[in-house]
Structure formats: structure tokens, C-alpha cells
């Protein structure tokens, strides 16, 4: 099938009334959580995951994807209007966006944010469509050693791109792998690390672990920081940016989209890193770097296009190889597996309607965001008036119900409690839980492919470097480790992440 046939199939799937409704629902929920600080797309997805069990797989994926990129969009609205980044990915947008709003240019800033996001979303959708077939075909050639090396490279890349000490991040990946080993050993049928608890004989459920770490832990940490919100009450007028704004923003949108598209594909990239990188790049190429932070349009266009492009291209490794590059993609894998679909290179051929439907829905969802959201900005901003003291008991409650619903057992709530306490501990000792979640999801795959390889090679570890694809992947992983070890490059990395 050619690309156009595939896209035609995708659009015919995504344009069914039911899927359009779920797409709309997803982007609206996503925008809402994007607007509200303290609720991330990650814990929203985790909370809503149990409710997708009853949906058709395509509808479920379309809705969950909508939440993710909708949230990137909503985060920028509050960043511009209120100087509160609804999501970490919108932190950079605050710098120039809020300054523009203070100068009475909130309208153009919001419009440029929307247009950049839409442009980036369109490009990212095309990139996904173009790369899918070749990547999936390549991945079909993979056997156990290649998969093992790919997973190793992915985990190391995630560590390189994570904030904070890389050494501690590697330790967290290992802790995650250990947590992933809990449950029945597939080969021998023996329970491992279960402490005799029957509820975790099949492994720990995904939802309570992630919601506990990110949802509960975050709420508890947020409560210690005084919440401060002042709302810009000025009316937003003349939404349309001027031609000059447009001309100034366009090159920044192109650069931001490229940066976002590339970083999104890398493990650990996702939506948080690209806006920082794009902003730094814009500053470098600008003839007036000192004007950044004073409310110039490039400072909104670049990070906004980058975060949307990154959010979307981070689906590529998941859809073509079944490998999640960030915790949210890990949740998506959970959603697919619950639906009985094994994510991986064969998905594109076995489930073409699902695959291309999700890809097409991303473009439709981006269009919806532009058309629906600009008129709704007033509503989103009024949502910010709900104080956190009312919001967080509801968050906690929905976490509880979500955990319960994932297994129909209160044991999941207890499990979430334990992971919540652990998440709080990690927060206090200053380590990021994200690498751990990747380890948790990839751990079982890693072990299985390792054991299978060793069985085939008769215990000879050289097999990993004797096979060309595997050797290449490990070489990349080694190069990334070198980056971490050399202090000069390490300093650069810290500067880049600091920006």
C-alpha cells in the first residue's frame, strides 16, 4: 500500500463520528489539564486508562493521544496569560509569552502559539507517516540481541536527557527494572520477589505504580509550596497577529519544528526537552539575543512549535517498535496491551486501521485545537480561579478510583499508597522518577531478550557485538555514556538543560 492509501484509510477511520467524538473529548480534557498546574497529562492518562477498557482500541488510543498533545497546547495558554506554566513543557513559553501579554499583545501571542503548534503538528504527522513503514520494516528484522541492544540504548539515552545526576538516574533505571521483575517468571513459572502476596503474582499493575509515583507524590510535594496565582484580567482583543509578526515568527516556527521533531524521536525526549532546546537555538541564531525575554514573538513561536512536534514524534518509537520513550508512552503501551494488542513492528501490518487512524487523528486533533480553543480561552482562564485547596482532594479521589478500577480491587489502592510514599521520598532526595518508570516497563522485555540471546549463543556475550545492527546500537549507547563521563561535554549538557 502506498502512503496515500494508508493516509486515506487513516482518515476514513479517524473521521467516523465515534472517533471524532473521542478525539474531541481527548483534546478538551487534555487542554483542561494542560491549563491547570498540578495535574499533568501523565496522571490524567493514568486516571482515565481504566475507562478506556470498554472502548474499541482505536477510539481509546485516539482519545489518549489527544489528551497528550492537547495538554501541550493548554499549558501554553496559561503560560502566556498568567505566567503559570500548566505543564513543564510550557515553562519556556512564559518567558516571552507573558511579557507580550503584559504589553497588551496577549491575542497575537496566543494566536502565534496556536498557529505554531498546528504547523508543527502537521509536519510531525507527515514525518510519522513517512518514517513508519521503513522503521517497522527494519524493526521486523530484529531478533533478541538487537532488541536487547535497542532497549539498552533507549534507556541510556533517557538517562542522558534526564535532569540531575546521570549516575543517580542510572540507579533509578535499575530500581525500575527490579520492580518490573516482580511477578511470575515466564520461563520457569516461579513467582519472584512477590513476598508471597497473591495480588502481585502476575506483576505489579502499571496504573497504581505510575499514579502513585507521579500523581500522589506530586500532590504531596505541591502542597508544601504556597500556591500563588494572580490573573491577568485585561480583555484579550485583536487575536490576529500582524503580517510583521508573522514574518518574524515563521523562521522560528520552522527551526522549532525541526528541533522538536528530532528530539521527540529520541528516548527521554518527549515534550519537555524540545522547547528548551528550541529557545536556546533561537537565541543563538538571533541577531538580537538580548531581546529574548522581553516579549518577542520568536520566543513564543519556537518553543511552542518544538513542544508540539516533540509530543507527536515521540509516538514513533512506540508505534513502530513497541518501545516507549517516556513515561506517558509507557502508559500507552499499557493501554494497548490491555486491549490485547502487542505493540511492536508488526502492528502497522496487523492493525492498519488502528495505526493509520491514530496518525490521522493527530492531525484532526490539532485542527480541532486551533478552531475550538481560541474562542474558549475565556473558559480555560476562568478554570484557573478554582483554588488548589479544592482541586487536590478531587485529584486524590480520582487517583483512588482510577487505581481501584484498573483491577477492581482495593489492593491497587494500597499499592498506590506505597508508591506514593516512595515518590515523595524520591522527590525529597532529589531524584527523578521518570527513568525508573521506563525501567519498570522495559525491564521484563530486557530480561527476556537477554535470556533468549544467551540461550542461543550458549552464554557468549560477544554475540551482541558480532551482529551489525546490535553492534551499532551499542556503539551509540557507548557514545552517549562517553558524553556523560567527559566533564567538558557534561558541563555543556547541564547548561543546555538549564537554559
Amino acid at each position: 500500500m502506498g502512503l496515500f492509501d494508508n493516509l486515506a484509510l487513516g482518515f476514513s477511520t479517524a473521521l467516523s463520528v465515534q472517533n471524532l467524538l473521542f478525539c474531541l473529548f481527548g483534546v478538551l480534557i487534555g487542554t483542561l489539564v494542560g491549563v491547570l498546574p498540578g495535574i499533568s497529562p501523565l496522571n490524567t492518562t493514568a486516571m482515565l486508562l481504566p475507562f478506556t477498557f470498554g472502548l474499541a482500541p482505536t477510539s481509546a488510543m485516539i482519545m489518549l493521544a489527544g489528551i497528550f498533545y492537547g495538554a501541550q497546547y493548554g499549558g501554553s495558554t496559561t503560560a502566556i496569560l498568567v505566567n503559570v506554566p500548566g505543564e513543564t513543557s510550557a515553562v519556556v513559553t512564559c518567558l516571552d509569552g507573558y511579557q507580550m501579554a503584559r504589553q497588551g499583545k496577549a491575542g497575537p501571542a496566543l494566536a502565534i502559539a496556536a498557529i505554531s503548534s498546528f504547523f508543527a503538528g502537521t509536519v510531525a504527522t507527515i514525518v510519522i507517516a513517512l518514517l513508519s513503514e521503513p522503521l517497522a520494516t527494519l524493526a521486523l528484522k530484529f531478533t533478541a540481541p538487537e532488541y536487547f541492544s535497542l532497549l539498552i540504548m533507549g534507556l541510556i539515552a533517557a538517562v542522558v536527557l534526564a535532569h540531575g545526576s546521570p549516575f543517580k538516574a542510572i540507579a533509578m533505571v535499575l530500581v525500575g527494572i527490579m520492580a518490573g521483575l516482580v511477578g511470575m517468571d515466564v520461563n520457569a513459572g516461579v513467582p519472584r520477589l512477590t513476598f508471597g502476596i497473591p495480588d502481585i503474582a502476575d506483576g505489579m499493575d502499571f496504573v497504581p505504580v505510575v499514579v502513585g509515583l507521579f500523581g500522589i507524590g506530586e500532590v504531596a510535594a505541591n502542597l508544601e509550596i504556597p500556591q500563588d496565582r494572580s490573573i491577568l484580567s485585561a480583555k484579550i482583543k485583536n487575536l490576529m497577529p500582524s503580517w510583521a509578526d508573522f514574518k518574524a515568527a515563521f523562521p522560528a516556527i520552522l527551526r522549532g519544528t525541526s528541533v522538536g521533531t528530532i528530539l521527540g524521536i529520541l528516548p527521554g525526549g518527549g515534550a519537555a526537552l524540545p522547547p528548551f532546546a528550541a529557545y536556546a537555538l533561537e537565541k543563538k541564531v538571533s541577531r538580537h539575543p538580548e531581546r529574548f525575554g522581553t516579549g518577542i514573538i520568536q520566543g513564543v513561536a519556537a518553543p511552542e512549535s518544538a513542544n508540539n512536534a516533540g509530543a507527536q514524534t515521540s509516538f514513533i518509537p512506540l508505534l513502530t517498535m513497541g518501545i516507549p520513550t517516556n513515561p506517558l508512552m509507557a502508559l500507552m503501551i499499557g493501554a494497548l496491551m490491555i486491549q490485547g494488542i502487542q505493540p511492536g513492528p508488526s502492528m502497522i501490518h496487523d492493525q492498519p486501521a488502528l495505526y493509520w487512524g491514530v496518525v490521522a487523528s493527530m492531525w484532526i486533533g490539532n485542527l480541532m485545537l486551533v478552531v475550538i480553543n481560541l474562542p474558549l480561552i475565556g473558559i480555560w482562564v476562568s478554570m484557573l480561579r478554582i483554588p488548589y485547596r479544592l482541586l487536590f482532594p478531587a485529584i486524590i479521589l480520582f487517583c483512588c478510583i482510577g487505581a481501584y478500577a484498573s483491577s477492581n480491587s482495593v489492593f491497587s489502592v494500597w499499592l498506590m499508597l506505597g508508591w506514593g510514599a516512595l515518590g515523595y521520598f524520591f522527590n525529597k532526595v532529589g531524584v527523578q522518577p521518570a527513568p525508573m518508570v521506563l525501567g519498570f516497563v522495559l525491564g521484563p522485555m530486557l530480561e527476556e531478550n537477554f535470556r533468549r540471546t544467551m540461550l542461543i549463543s550458549g552464554g557468549d556475550p560477544l554475540v551482541f557485538i558480532e551482529r551489525p545492527i546490535s553492534a551499532t546500537l551499542l556503539a551509540v549507547a557507548a557514545a552517549l555514556l562517553v558524553v556523560l563521563i567527559f566533564p567538558a561535554i557534561r558541563k555543556k549538557r547541564e547548561e543546555a538543560l538549564q537554559e
Binding site: A188, I216, L397, C399, R451
Partner: protein, 150 residues
């Protein structure tokens, strides 16, 4: 000079890793390890425990000899009442039903923050409870009892 040393978060994290490794080694003590060519169920977890142990020792050890960095302030009230809220939900749901569990959880978590206001919190809790019951039990058909059964 003694007092100016020690990265407390680093030591705490290293200690956590060591503890985790020890617990994992004890729990997997009866599993077959096997050989590299034919691994038993114990091979990977036990090898992993040793690596985690090494990481823990290095991180904690480095923490002991670097400059002083205290643990960030811990406020007991938020974290404890959040955890208690979860426990209340887990304890009440099976026999007390969704309404009782929801209201109690909302009440407990409301107290985690110092600046709650009685009236608005009660009104909000009642609205959310009604919403929860309608959405989850009638809308999504979760198998949950709404009212207590004694």
C-alpha cells in the same frame, strides 16, 4: 569540621538502594540461578541486586565525603494526610460503599492544606461525590456499591 560534611539526600538515596538490594537478595535466595547459557529465574534479579548494591555504596559513600547538603524541609501534615486519605478510601470502599468512601477521602485530604474553608469544602465535596457516583457507577458501570452494607 565534622558538621560541614555529608550530602544527606545522597546518603539517603544510597541507603535506599542498599536496603532494596538486600531485601531482593533475601527474597530471591531460593531461586535457581543457573548459568549464563541457561539462566534460571534467579539469575537476573540476583545479578541486578548486586549492581544496585554497588550503585548504592558508591552514591552513599560519595555523599559521606562531599560538602554538606541538608534534606529539604519536610512538612509532615501534607504527606501524612494524603497517605491517610488513600488508606481511608481503601478501608472504607469494600463495605462502606462509594459515597462514604468518597466523602471521607475528600474530608481527610482537605485537611492536608491549612487554608481550607468549611463551607466551600463541604459544598464541593458533596458535588464531587454526586458526580463520582453518577459518572462511575451509572455512567461507566463500575461494579461498586453506592451505599454501605453492614
Amino acid at each position: 569540621m565534622q558538621k560541614s560534611r555529608g550530602d544527606i539526600p545522597g546518603i539517603a538515596f544510597g541507603g535506599f538502594l542498599i536496603l532494596l538490594a538486600i531485601v531482593a537478595l533475601i527474597e530471591t535466595r531460593n531461586l535457581t540461578v543457573g548459568t549464563a547459557a541457561d539462566m534460571g529465574p534467579g539469575y537476573v534479579p540476583r545479578a541486578l541486586s548486586l549492581v544496585i548494591m554497588a550503585f548504592g555504596l558508591v552514591i552513599a559513600g560519595r555523599g559521606l565525603f562531599t560538602g554538606r547538603r541538608p534534606l529539604p524541609a519536610i512538612k509532615l501534615r501534607p504527606i501524612l494526610s494524603v497517605l491517610v486519605s488513600l488508606a481511608v478510601f481503601a478501608l472504607l470502599l469494600p463495605r462502606g460503599g462509594l459515597v462514604l468512601a468518597t466523602l471521607s477521602t475528600m474530608a481527610c485530604s482537605t485537611f492536608s492544606s491549612a487554608d481550607y474553608k468549611w463551607r466551600e469544602s463541604i459544598i464541593f465535596a458533596v458535588i464531587i461525590t454526586a458526580f463520582t457516583v453518577v459518572l462511575f457507577v451509572y455512567g461507566l458501570g463500575l461494579p461498586l456499591a453506592v451505599w454501605p452494607r453492614w
